[in-house]
């Protein structure tokens, strides 16, 4: 029986009259990669913001590692790492300094932060550029630094919001391998992406959101099986079948 690490119950969030998230519930098991997919405006980012304690839900609650985001957000923040979709780092500082700084914010001592930073830069293939300013890095290198920052403090739950946007295949592959090795070490990961083959490759289970609601949740294989023989159907076919082909932007 898998152990639930994140339990989201009946989450609601509105901005003025717009219901961004409308009654979303799901569970993420310990050590799994959980894909949260959906077209633009589906409510994924708002959901992640609530899960990561940035936004407070209007209704509902989330427990992460047994702690409620409503009642014990500080304890939740000790368990999570967030890699936002946009690069969120200090481009005018060296990569190492960025990692050490966020490590300190995650509660590490200076020595621990430095050691972890070097280890994560090694993992990302960036140890040679540890002292280089991030502003001088390529797009792929910046993405890898962005991900490495999220790993500081060894979080138990990692939120990865489209971590491979706009990078070359080599960097993307490095990120895939990193994510898989993290899962192998027991880390729980919530992954959002618009690349369906990425979700198919990495995610143990996938939830698809649209219009602020969770419309389906299952393994990629089972989702494909719903519309045809899995070897002939892609996850993108499932996604388009469920969310429609009309433009959302």
């Amino acid at each position: 029986m898998p152990e639930a690490f994140l339990i989201a119950q009946n989450l609601h969030k509105s901005f003025n009259e717009h219901k961004a998230v409308n009654g979303v519930s799901f569970t993420i098991n310990k050590g799994e990669i959980f894909g949260l997919l959906g077209p633009n405006g589906a409510g994924k980012t708002t959901t992640i913001r609530m899960l990561s304690t940035v936004l407070e839900p209007d209704r509902g609650d989330v427990t992460i590692g047994g702690y409620s985001i409503r009642h014990n957000a500080e304890a939740v923040r000790r368990l999570i790492g967030v890699c936002p979709q946009e690069l969120a780092l200090y481009a005018d500082l060296p990569a190492l300094d960025n990692l050490v700084f966020f490590g300190r914010m995650a509660g590490l001592s200076g020595k621990e932060a430095h050691a972890q930073a070097m280890a994560h830069l090694e993992l990302m293939g960036l140890v040679e550029r540890a002292k280089g300013k991030v502003s001088k890095f390529s797009g792929g290198m910046k993405r890898r630094v962005n991900l490495a920052i999220a790993l500081m403090g060894h979080p138990q739950l990692l939120f990865l919001d489209e971590p491979t946007v706009g990078i070359d295949p080599q960097s993307r592959n490095n990120i895939y391998e990193t994510i898989e090795s993290l899962r192998d070490k027991g880390m729980t990961i919530l992954y959002t992406t618009h690349y369906m083959e990425e979700a198919d490759r990495l995610c143990d289970r996938v939830a698809i959101m649209d219009g602020g609601q969770l419309i389906v949740l299952d393994t990629p294989l089972e989702l494909k099986r719903r519309i045809g023989p899995p070897e002939q159907v892609t996850l993108e076919d499932v996604f388009l079948r469920l969310t429609g082909r009309s433009l959302r932007d």
Partner: protein
């Protein structure tokens, strides 16, 4: 180490690594000081120029008169030709010119009345009037010397003393009298001197510190723009710690800039005693803290860098105008009451008490309490008003 301090150190480090920002922010106080020196430096006492047309070229007394004018420390002598002087007066390039007429020396030597002439436009201007009184003083001195010489000559007439000997003796006496006058004039300064530097330095310092509000106001917006604000708030860093970190970084920056300004003022204008310098630094620190706290209030409300800049500039200008930084506000007037709403007023008063009135921190109970209160209220208010995003914490 406290997370606030780590945030502050990162901020300071970024500031130190940006060479252009660093150079500009350190050169700014130096540039302001240079402007201040250019405007006020060396002019704590009057210094003017007398424009002279000497039509008595080579005359003994006109030469002596010009030498005596040249000996005055606070007066420069500029010789002009007659057409040049007339033309400048005509065009109002000059408001007053002194004319030494032809035969000026001959007339004096023969005991006749000789006149110096001031030609002036209107009342000759304020500087012209002061210059004229200095010139009159010199003329009166020569007049008295000539009278003494005449009296001595008359008294000794018929005693078979050579005229040359009388002249030399009288001249020696007069020179000694000028060097060691019987009736001396001594200046005693009561309190500190009311020179322009004393008057304006507090205003310049407070205005300068207040400009730092803009930098503080942008601090949170910049984090928001980089995307690091949201990320930071998913770590163990609390909003309060983030604000305190920003606050400490901006106080340090504002304080260092003010320190440069005050050190230069100390070295060049010798405005301070060591104690008053330290007291001024304390005021600068508290005022920088108050300005930074107000900057954070703005930072907690605005959403873009443009909003932050304009709100901060508007706030700064209003504070400067209300406080009477560069003009006197009469006690008891409506403006005087309104000026109490500006933190500049309290900082100005505090600096003036130390710099211009020779007071101490013990005399600044109200001012320091108000500024410290602004720090506390600003920090609390900014935390209450701040939302990472609508609906956020």
């Amino acid at each position: 180490m406290n997370r606030s301090l780590i945030v502050a150190l990162r901020e300071v480090r970024t500031y130190l690594q940006d060479k252009a920002d660093l150079a500009f922010s350190l050169l700014l106080p130096i540039a302001i000081f240079a402007l201040m020196y250019g405007a006020f430096g060396g002019q704590s006492r009057f210094h003017g120029t007398t424009h002279v047309v000497n039509e008595d070229q080579g005359g003994t007394y006109s030469t002596l008169f010009l030498e005596r004018l040249g000996e005055l420390e606070n007066l420069d002598v500029e010789l002009l030709s007659l057409p040049e002087a007339d033309s400048k007066l005509e065009r109002s390039d000059l408001l007053m010119v002194l004319y030494i007429p032809k035969n000026f020396s001959d007339k004096l030597a023969s005991g006749e009345l000789a006149e110096l002439v001031f030609k002036q436009r209107g009342n000759g201007g304020q500087e012209g009037q002061i210059v004229a009184s200095l010139v009159r003083g010199v003329a009166e001195g020569i007049n008295q010397e000539l009278q003494v010489y005449s009296q001595v000559s008359n008294t000794l007439a018929g005693r078979n003393i050579p005229q040359e000997s009388i002249e030399i003796t009288v001249q020696k006496f007069m020179d000694r009298e000028r060097e060691y006058p019987i009736v001396g004039v001594r200046e005693e300064t009561v309190g500190s001197s009311p020179d322009p530097v004393n008057q304006f330095l507090p205003g310049i310092v407070t205005m300068f510190v207040l400009f730092a509000i803009t930098l503080t106001a942008r601090a949170i917006v910049e984090e928001r723009k980089k995307g690091t604000l949201e990320r930071l708030l998913t770590t163990r860093l609390s909003v309060g710690q983030l604000f305190v970190g920003k606050f400490l970084a901006n106080v340090s920056r504002g304080f260092v800039q003010t320190l440069i300004l005050l050190v230069l003022a100390y070295m060049v204008f010798q405005l301070f005693t060591p104690l008053s310098f330290v007291e001024s630094l304390v005021i600068a620190l508290i005022f920088a803290a108050a300005a930074s706290a107000l900057g954070l209030v703005i930072a907690s409300l605005v959403r873009t860098e443009d909003q932050a800049t304009w709100v901060a500039v508007f706030f700064t200008m209003v504070m400067v105008m209300l406080s009477g930084t560069f003009f006197q506000i009469s006690e008891g007037s409506v403006m005087y009451t309104i000026s109490k709403a500006s933190i500049n007023t309290y900082a100005n008063d505090a600096f003036k008490t130390i710099i211009a009135q020779g007071g101490s921190l013990a005399d600044l109970g109200l001012e320091l309490r108000v500024l410290a209160g602004v720090v506390v209220v600003g920090l609390v208010l900014s935390r209450i008003l701040f939302r990472v995003m609508p609906g956020g914490r």
